[in-house]
């Protein structure tokens, strides 16, 4: 049994790395996205600054009648984003989602210590309303995270999602369509052995490519992982496993690549957009946030971000870890029950 699983495992690995196009792509893609985004973001910085405002007093008419504040609000190329409280807004400042945070009611502001953009907006604020009462500067507590570093776990997660779902789902469907599975079904190989070998193969591929991309980006951008690497690997592996299992579930019966491709797209797109890889769900409707929680990618990205950016220990993320593990078991169980060698 072990020899049979090993045989399938080795063959699948060879197929993967000899398929130059998809192999190259799975490595190159995350690099391109990260390089592209860090570049785009740099461009964006030159054009516009974001300043957070706290409280209902953010509305100009209800704001403390400070000439400095009124003047500052008229500054061009500064976008003002409103927040309900400092607790909500400060993490955004730390994560460079905004460049400065102002509480007009209290006459206070926060700015990121190391951010050149923060420095510029601070100067803009202090030079507004010539000589009238000054806003007080407050120290920011916590560590600020470069935007690229905040993006990075999301991009790795997204890449894993595509690799897991398409690499397993599509491949098994193709095997079924071209009769390779039918031929295997008349050998002593059992579905369990076959599926296990597929999972292990894809897990090894996922971990290897992810580690490679991680190392590459860490060198290029001097990344820092504030939490433990063991926890990071664990969450990536668990999340990857859950998505590989989801891929197998989708591929359990279909013999049509178009159908499987459609289902995979229907799953991957919402996963990508709702898991906060690209867009923050800050201020989104509750049902959207709820929907996001059913996707393994959401939890994986959330956990890996917290480990990398904030150094959160695994023990504080047990619910998410439980969701990932639970979904993996559920997908795998359903996938193996439904699995069929042949098209019907």
């Amino acid at each position: 049994m072990l020899r049979r699983m090993w045989t399938i495992f080795v063959a699948r690995n060879k197929e993967f790395y000899r398929d130059r196009a998809s192999f190259g792509w799975s490595i190159l893609f995350p690099f391109l996205v990260i390089i592209g985004f860090s570049f785009l973001f740099d461009q964006d910085r030159q054009a516009m600054y974001k300043v957070g405002l706290i409280g209902p007093s953010a509305q100009p008419e209800r704001a403390a009648r400070s000439p400095q504040y009124d003047d500052f609000r008229k500054t061009r190329f500064v976008e003002f984003v409103e927040f309900a409280s400092a607790d909500e807004a400060l993490p955004k400042l730390l994560h460079h989602r905004i460049d400065m945070l102002v509480d007009p009611g209290a006459g206070e502001y926060w700015v990121s210590r190391s951010s050149p953009r923060g420095y510029v907006v601070e100067k803009l604020l202090s030079s507004s309303g010539s000589g009238s009462a000054q806003f007080k500067k407050r120290e920011v507590e916590g560590i600020e995270i470069p935007y690229v570093e905040w993006m990075f776990p999301g991009i790795l997660g997204m890449n894993m999602m595509f690799s897991a779902l398409f690499g397993v789902g599509y491949v098994v469907v193709r095997y079924r369509k071209n009769g390779a599975l039918k031929r295997l079904s008349v050998t002593p190989l059992s579905p369990f052995e076959f599926l296990t070998a597929q999972i292990i193969s894809r897990m090894v591929i996922l971990i290897a490519t992810t580690s490679f991309v991680y190392a590459g980006c860490a060198l290029m951008y001097r990344f820092e992982c504030r939490g433990s690497y063991a926890a990071l690997v664990f969450v990536f592996a668990l999340g990857g496993f859950s998505m590989v299992a989801l891929g197998l579930l989708i591929a359990a019966r279909s013999a049509s690549e178009e159908f499987a491709g459609g289902v995979l797209n229907i799953l991957t797109w919402p996963m990508m957009f709702l898991s906060e890889v690209w867009f923050s769900l800050e201020g989104a409707k509750p049902w959207v946030k709820g929907l996001a929680k059913i996707f393994p990618l959401t939890h994986m990205v959330d956990c890996t971000r917290r480990i990398m950016n904030d150094g959160t220990p695994l023990s504080q993320m047990l619910p998410q870890v439980a969701v990932l593990a639970g979904s993996a078991v559920l997908f795998l169980a359903l996938g193996s029950v439904l699995f069929q060698w042949q098209k019907k």
Partner: protein, 293 residues
């Protein structure tokens, strides 16, 4: 001893009765040929025996008992169409399949018998149709099987490649293995098989040794007429005839009498050929249609 016995095998699909009560038994070490036109039910019959499809009813006994786990270990299978793993070489593919079994055929024996020496290190997608067919045969032999199923092993091959394959099948036979093969070619069945069964519409029409079948049904000759536009000249003919696509075939046990009749009817005999009957004629006689389109 019979290595395989099939009794009243039935396989119904929603729209067709693909196999409609088929029975035969195959002595160990022999070669059994299933013959029939497209859609006769040959593939379905052997796929049900192989365990790929579920039967509707009927019994299948392998070595006198129902097929157990040992069945998969001991049979070798070549499906009618199988895709090979894309990114493996021929050698890797062979080893891949060998490693799925407990009993493995000697690699050098496989290479020699299927003449794979030259292509062993070539990628699967770079080999020709004939080479692929030989590789598929080698895969079917990867577990050194007792019973080998070959579904149309020579379809699409040129005459020489076909002859190569026949040679390989003979070699397998010498090893004492039992072979079950399907084919569209009477000649092939006649050369390779001790027993042939002719199938049409899911039923076995007749079965036996090729020589016996010929002696029984096909003693006479066949007169082939080309360029005969209308059938009415043949209407009064004593012997049976069929109009095929481009020709008329008349079967007779008395050529002289038949020709006299044709001349009497003023039939143009310019493009006429006469041959002794073969299994193809037998098939035509039994089913009323030709074996290959």
């Amino acid at each position: 001893m019979n290595i395989l016995e099939v009794n009243g095998l039935v396989k119904h699909f929603p729209e067709v009765k693909a196999v409609d009560g088929v029975s035969f038994s195959i002595p160990a070490g022999s070669c059994f040929g299933l013959l029939g036109p497209n859609g006769a039910g040959k593939t379905t019959t052997i796929e049900v025996i192989e365990g790929i499809q579920k039967r509707t009813s009927g019994d299948i006994l392998y070595k006198g008992a129902r097929r157990g786990p040992s069945f998969r270990q001991e049979v070798g299978i070549q499906l009618q169409n199988t895709e090979l793993p894309q990114f493996l070489t021929v050698r890797e593919t062979l080893n891949f399949y060998r490693n799925l079994y407990d009993r493995r055929a000697d690699l050098s024996w496989l290479i020699e018998i299927c003449r794979l020496e030259e292509i062993m290190d070539r990628d699967n997608w770079k080999i020709s149709g004939g080479q692929k067919q030989r590789l598929l045969l080698a895969i079917a032999l990867a577990n050194d099987p007792d019973l080998v199923f070959l579904d149309e092993p020579t379809t699409g091959l040129d005459p020489q490649a076909r002859r190569h394959l026949w040679e390989i099948v003979r070699q397998i036979r010498i090893q004492g293995k039992t072979v079950v093969l399907t084919t569209h070619y009477m000649e092939e069945a006649q050369i390779l098989c001790e027993t042939i069964a002719i199938m049409d519409h899911g039923k076995i029409i007749t079965m036996g040794e090729p020589e016996d079948l010929l002696a029984q049904y096909a003693r006479g000759s066949t007169v082939v007429l080309r360029g005969l536009a209308r059938d009415d000249a043949l209407s009064g003919l004593q012997c049976s005839w069929d109009r095929l696509e481009d020709r008329v075939e008349i079967r007779t046990e008395n050529v002289n009498e038949c020709l006299r009749e044709l001349i009497r009817n003023d039939v143009d005999l310019t493009a006429m050929t006469i041959r002794s009957q073969n299994l193809e004629d037998l098939f035509l006689m039994l089913t009323g249609h030709s074996l290959r389109g």
